[in-house]
């Protein structure tokens, strides 16, 4: 199928492009941009007048809940959500049940996800067996099965010697190590940022030092082992400063932030709203503002949805007993646009943080509309408003603090390898 996307505003940050240009797609790849390639005849034309045409979004963290948590979500429901959200590539963390610590499990997931209407799935393999932080996984085997990096989701490796060896072993093969910085002792019994709101509501606090102390350990080990470390879900201004200082000192490290943490803070817990129970916790307004600024400046490399579908039963309980996480695949684009608008950033900067920047971290051929690249495309109407509702969300997870919110940015079409999967 040859597709022509016409009349749209092309935003392709990897090529510094923000202009009116048609996009031509043939054999699943970008065949031309602006000028019609010789001999090209469109079998289908998409009229993108008033819309932005950009690379499909690359999400660094989307929990698909398979295997093990199919009552929360299935590959089918979450892939439909990805398509509706303009997401064409996604990394899934290893905290499935069982965790992604065996090649067979990874192969099965890759096989299940191989349908043409699905986004491309990049599993993050478990760094340690069962994520227990004791024994290393067969990383080389897991990489062959399709893992692009190794991590622990949000379960810390407590034994620093194991962490050091895991990083040494991963760096032997050049595998990136993804880690979330949280000291488990300082976070013990904590359910919210240890600040004004937790003090007032009587909730167990997770102090900022839980992040910075763990970060210090990871950064020292990154330097000592030479491992390529990606820090997931930075949550505090102090943590961000440490990452910036480490980079200035020449340590190879990248980091991301979850989209909720750009917009919400501890105050959004309100009167114990379990939808605002997130991991890491929503922190103070000053932290939130530092994250917004850091993402704009590039001190934070990428933005992700941290998509975590949770069933109603696990949220309709008192705040401290609720499971953490929020659905996010379908909110990533509109919330990215809202951040960019509030920060008065160029659209291309915003798009970069959810396309070419995360693709670079994953080391995958995605996030650009260069001629010859896979035709993973998102076409969206930046002015169209969407009201977030349970009915509107395709994800099986209806858990979001943004229920009822009206957000600008509606996806018109999503294409994966040149095949329209949404619209």
């Amino acid at each position: 199928m040859n597709i022509r996307i016409k009349n749209g505003r092309l935003v392709d940050p990897a090529n510094g492009a923000d202009r009116r240009a048609d996009v031509f797609i043939a054999q699943g790849r970008i065949a031309g941009v602006g000028e019609c390639p010789a001999g090209f005849t469109a079998t289908r034309t998409l009229d993108a007048a008033g819309c932005v045409v950009c690379p499909g979004l690359v999400d660094l963290s989307a929990r698909l809940r398979e295997p093990g948590f199919e009552y929360r979500a299935t590959l089918e429901s979450e892939m439909a959500a990805a398509a509706a959200g303009g997401v064409t590539s996604l990394a899934c963390p290893p905290d499935t049940d069982p965790p992604l610590d065996e090649p067979g499990l990874v192969e099965m997931l890759k096989h299940r996800a191989r349908l043409p209407e699905f986004a491309k799935v990049y599993p993050i393999g478990a760094l340690t067996e069962k994520l227990e932080g004791k024994r290393l996984t067969e990383m080389a085997e897991l990489a062959e099965a399709g893992c692009v990096a190794f991590g622990q989701a949000n379960i810390p490796v407590v034994d620093t010697q194991v962490l050091q060896r895991a990083m040494q072993y991963a760096s032997t093969f050049g595998f990136p190590v993804w880690l979330q910085a949280q000291d488990p002792y300082l976070a013990r019994n904590g359910v919210a940022h240890d600040g004004e709101v937790a003090s007032r509501l009587g909730l167990g606090g997770i102090p900022v030092v839980a992040e910075t102390i763990a970060l210090a350990g990871i950064l020292h080990l990154a330097q000592a082992t030479g491992a390529r470390v990606h820090l997931t879900r930075i949550s505090s201004a102090a943590g961000l400063e440490m990452v910036a200082a480490a980079r200035a000192a020449g340590i190879q490290v990248t980091c991301d932030v979850a989209v909720h943490h750009l917009h919400l803070s501890e105050g959004d817990i309100g009167w114990f709203d379990p939808h605002a129970r997130l991991d890491p916790p929503l922190r103070s307004l000053a932290d939130r503002d530092a994250l917004r600024q850091g993402l704009a400046s590039g001190a934070i490399d990428a933005l992700c949805s941290d998509h975590t579908p949770v069933d109603d039963d696990a949220k309709l309980v008192p705040f401290a007993e609720a499971e953490s996480g929020a659905t996010g695949l379908e909110l990533l684009l509109p919330l990215t646009l809202r951040w960019a608008a509030e920060m008065e950033l160029p659209l291309s900067t915003a798009i970069a943080r959810v396309t070419c920047d995360p693709a670079r971290i994953l080391g995958i051929a995605a996030g650009t509309l260069s001629v010859g690249a896979p035709a993973d495309v998102c076409v969206f109407d930046p002015a169209a408003q969407v009201t977030v509702s349970r009915e509107h969300l395709r994800s099986q997870g209806k858990n979001t603090p943004f229920l009822g919110a009206s957000l600008a940015g509606r996806v018109r079409w999503t294409l994966v390898d040149g095949v329209p999967v949404f619209g």
Partner: protein, 325 residues
């Protein structure tokens, strides 16, 4: 996040009593005013008024507390309500029923009022939200203590006690002493003191037992934090002691009850720093020799037993107000 506190209805009236945080001053004062005539009911030969006749009050205690449950039971019975006591920590949730399933079942039994005690902060909010969402908003929820968050009727009875002995709040210096971090009582007291305009509110305790941002608990006006008890008690009018749970010795919060008593136990010698007519309060049950010396607990400045008596009247007032009496 809604601007209106979930315990108020659209007309700004009290629908539930969930917290003293965000409870308007006029409602708070109204409850205290309403409690005064109820103190006299207890002195009659027939200790009953018919305000809640035909109403069913369910005591839902997901966490054991004989004392608090009993005071609510007495209050409801003096208002002529039917009282059903449910000790749920040992019944249905142990069989796997969820909190909201339990609530649905009891709502179907035509309950008029739920008195809820739960170990998790915010649990009564969940119940109130659920009732509103399922058409059960004719049922009133009274928070009888949720986790570390709030114990509003205790806070109210403490305010009643202060008003009884000190008449008004505008010239007082009040100190709350002890384990504020884990105390729902302290949070309710601090909110009420701030709402009622107490000009100087102090908290006294070791850093391990004070919340990180304790100075912001009672709103933007702030309060004064002391770690030296003698200094903190200087010239106060009211001393509000908090109970120290034994399990605080675990988890490296405190070394020993003995050392705690030495630094933060209320002895006659430390009490001498306060004004000579200062009153001493305690929410009970007391740990003599841990947070309070027997000489103080049984001394002339203690108003601990009157607190219990006033507690019945205040709980009657809350129930009567919710029932629209």
């Amino acid at each position: 996040m809604s601007a209106i506190h979930p315990q108020l209805n659209a007309r700004g009236e009290l629908q539930h009593l969930l917290s003293l945080d965000g409870l308007p001053r006029d409602i708070l004062t109204r409850i205290l005013d309403l409690a005064t005539p109820f103190t006299e009911v207890a002195e009659r030969e027939v200790k009953k008024v018919p305000l809640l006749r035909g109403k069913s009050v369910f005591n839902l205690f997901f966490e054991n507390s004989t004392r608090t449950r009993t005071t609510f039971e007495i209050a409801a019975k003096r208002l002529s309500a039917d009282v059903i006591n449910l000790n749920i920590s040992t019944s249905s949730t142990a069989k796997g029923e969820t909190l909201l399933d339990t609530v649905d079942n009891l709502a179907a039994m035509q309950a008029d009022m739920f008195v809820v005690r739960h170990a998790a902060s915010g649990a009564p909010y969940l119940i109130a939200r659920h009732l509103a969402a399922t058409g059960g908003d004719h049922i009133h929820v009274i928070n009888a203590g949720d986790g570390r968050h709030a114990h509003p009727t205790q806070g109210l009875l403490d305010m009643y006690t202060i008003r009884h002995y000190k008449q008004d709040f505008e010239n007082l210096t009040v100190a709350v002493v002890g384990d504020v971090l884990h105390s729902r009582v302290a949070r309710s007291q601090l909110h009420a003191l701030a709402t009622l305009g107490v000009p100087e509110i102090r908290v006294i305790g070791p850093k391990t037992l004070l919340p990180t941002m304790v100075d912001r608990i009672a709103g933007p006006r702030g309060l004064r934090v002391f770690h030296d008890m003698r200094e903190g008690l200087r010239d106060v009018d009211v001393v509000m002691m908090l109970r120290l749970q034994n399990e605080r010795m675990q988890g490296a919060l405190l070394p020993s009850p003995q050392e705690y008593f030495k630094s933060y136990g209320l002895t006659p010698e430390k009490l001498a720093m306060a004004k000579s007519d200062a009153i001493v309060m305690h929410p009970g049950p007391m740990n003599r020799g841990v947070e309070i010396d027997s000489a103080v607990a049984d001394g002339g400045q203690a108003v601990i037993l009157p607190q219990v008596t006033f507690g019945i009247a205040v709980r009657m007032a809350v129930m009567a107000l919710l029932a629209g009496a």
